[in-house]
């Protein structure tokens, strides 16, 4: 099992609903976030292009944050999901330094927090909160090993890219372009 997400940049409108939904679902304190939206603008008026991306932890296959964690608080669970056990985290910040995507933050309570792929929902057969709320349905989540999963279907006939490929982390969030 390999959980992954695909983001259709051609449909995302950058509304940030996925961000609020994550905050209310996962009790992310105001001022912090586990996902965020970027916009890149290219060209010059009137030949302009923009790309909108909903970003979050990439649940890297080759996760530097897990490697550098001195206590094992950052770990990989079944399905390749990278999680942090709050009670094992000493808040040293090494994993934050190690993440090329700046996907982690230091929770006001001291431990480090980040996207969990909403495992508490996925375990119950629900979609991650951000995926479930997205008004444009541009987020696809599922198991890459299952050819019929939403994410496999989304990737099948589309061009896609990952972010900061050169960082060598083998990220599992795919951007349909």
């Amino acid at each position: 099992m390999r959980y992954a997400m695909a983001v259709d940049t051609k449909k995302c409108v950058g509304c940030s609903d996925c961000v609020v939904a994550c905050q209310t679902e996962n009790n992310v304190p105001i001022g912090f976030c586990r996902d965020w939206i970027t916009e890149t603008v290219d060209g010059s008026y009137p030949n302009v292009e923009i790309e909108l991306r909903s970003e979050r932890c990439n649940h890297c296959e080759n996760a530097p944050c897990v490697r550098c964690c001195p206590t094992g608080a950052s770990h990989i669970v079944d399905g390749g999901v990278v999680l942090v056990t709050h009670d094992e985290c000493i808040g040293c910040g090494a994993c934050i330094q190690s993440c090329p995507y700046d996907a982690r933050y230091s929770h006001p309570d001291g431990y480090v927090d980040k996207c969990t792929f909403c495992m508490h929902r996925v375990e119950k057969g629900q979609l991650p909160a951000c995926v479930a709320v997205c008004p444009t349905k541009c987020l696809y989540f599922g198991d890459l090993d299952d050819p019929n999963s939403d994410v496999s279907n989304a990737l099948r006939n589309r061009k896609y890219k990952v972010l900061a490929d050169e960082a060598g982390t083998n990220p599992q969030i795919y951007y349909l372009i």
Partner: protein, 313 residues
């Protein structure tokens, strides 16, 4: 025109707009670690070479600073932790891939070793000293008998500690400024240089100061070479590393780096040391102080600047 922006207003404390998760504690920790490594290395080296007499400050007196430096360093590290109640978790596992982990374990070993080393010189420093406990006295005697072996162990761990202070940073691929293989040796050499400077400052013996001065000159030369090498490496690297190098070549750290680290921290004290070797009278405190300060600032700059460099956005 090309524009890149967050539209969900990411503004996470200490993460945005650039990483600032490690503050003063980490550079202090790295500095003290490097200093300790330097002193221990020389103490071990001259013990092994059998020069305890000539190099008394190096082998004996300066090492009293080491446990203090290491404990202060550990305190700094502890202060940096955001989830301090869980500090003990560090010592529930050994994770070799994590520099933080093996750094913690290295300190776990070298701190007692250095303590023992210094403690076994207590009687010399304080002739009337008495451990008032047989087992300690026996241990003291054992250490003094096996000094050479302890010295080997200590040198070994000192090198690890010294390199570790650099590797702690260079292990982070995600920060282009840190992500280079030179940082380990560079921090080791720089740490040794600060150790040598400390010894020079403390030593009353002209001979000892001269030896350490020569060593220090050599270290400074190596350091300059490594720094040049590092910057050249950046310039030949991918764009993120170019941006990293630019922080020192016109960017916001240019002045602090070139003035405080290179000129005042390396070139100027080196010049003073040359003068002294050439027989001119130079108050030794000046180059020593400058080297220490330069080393400290260097670590502050590397930690701060490194956090600014990133892959995305």
């Amino acid at each position: 025109m090309n524009e890149e922006l967050f539209i969900s207003g990411r503004n996470i404390p200490n993460i945005d707009p650039y990483l600032n998760i490690w503050h003063w504690q980490i550079p202090i920790y790295l500095f003290l670690g490097g200093l300790a490594a330097g002193i221990l290395f020389f103490a071990g080296l001259f013990t092994v070479m059998g020069k305890e007499k000539e190099m008394e400050t190096t082998v004996k007196w300066a090492t009293f600073l080491v446990p203090v430096a290491l404990v202060l360093g550990l305190i700094a590290l502890f202060l940096d932790l955001k989830h301090q109640l869980y500090f003990w978790r560090l010592y529930t596992v050994i994770r070799l891939q994590s520099p933080m982990s093996w750094g913690a374990w290295t300190l776990m070993i070298i701190t007692p070793v250095s303590l023992i080393w210094a403690a076994a010189y207590m009687k010399e420093l304080w002739p009337g000293w008495n451990w008032k406990m047989k087992i300690l006295d026996d241990f003291d005697a054992w250490v003094n008998k096996n000094r050479k072996y302890v010295a080997w162990v200590m040198m070994f761990y000192a090198v690890i500690l010294g390199i570790y202070t650099g590797i702690l940073l260079s292990a982070f691929n995600a920060r282009p400024l840190w992500n280079n293989s030179i940082l380990g040796p560079l921090f080791l050499v720089s740490g040794m240089s600060t150790g040598a400077a400390t010894i020079m400052w403390m030593s009353k013996s002209h001979y000892e100061r001269k030896v350490m001065g020569r060593i220090d000159l050599l270290l400074i030369t190596i350091e300059l070479f490594l720094i040049t090498h590092m910057i050249m490496g950046f310039l030949a690297g991918p764009s993120v590393q170019l941006e990293a190098a630019n922080l020192f070549l016109g960017g916001q750290f240019t002045v602090s780096f070139w003035v405080f680290v290179i000129i005042l921290g390396l070139l100027f004290p080196a010049a003073l040391e040359v003068l002294e070797l050439a027989g001119y009278k130079v108050p030794v405190a000046v180059p020593a102080f400058l080297i220490l300060l330069g080393g400290l600032i260097f670590r502050f700059i590397m930690v701060e600047a490194g956090q600014i460099t990133r892959y995305l956005y």
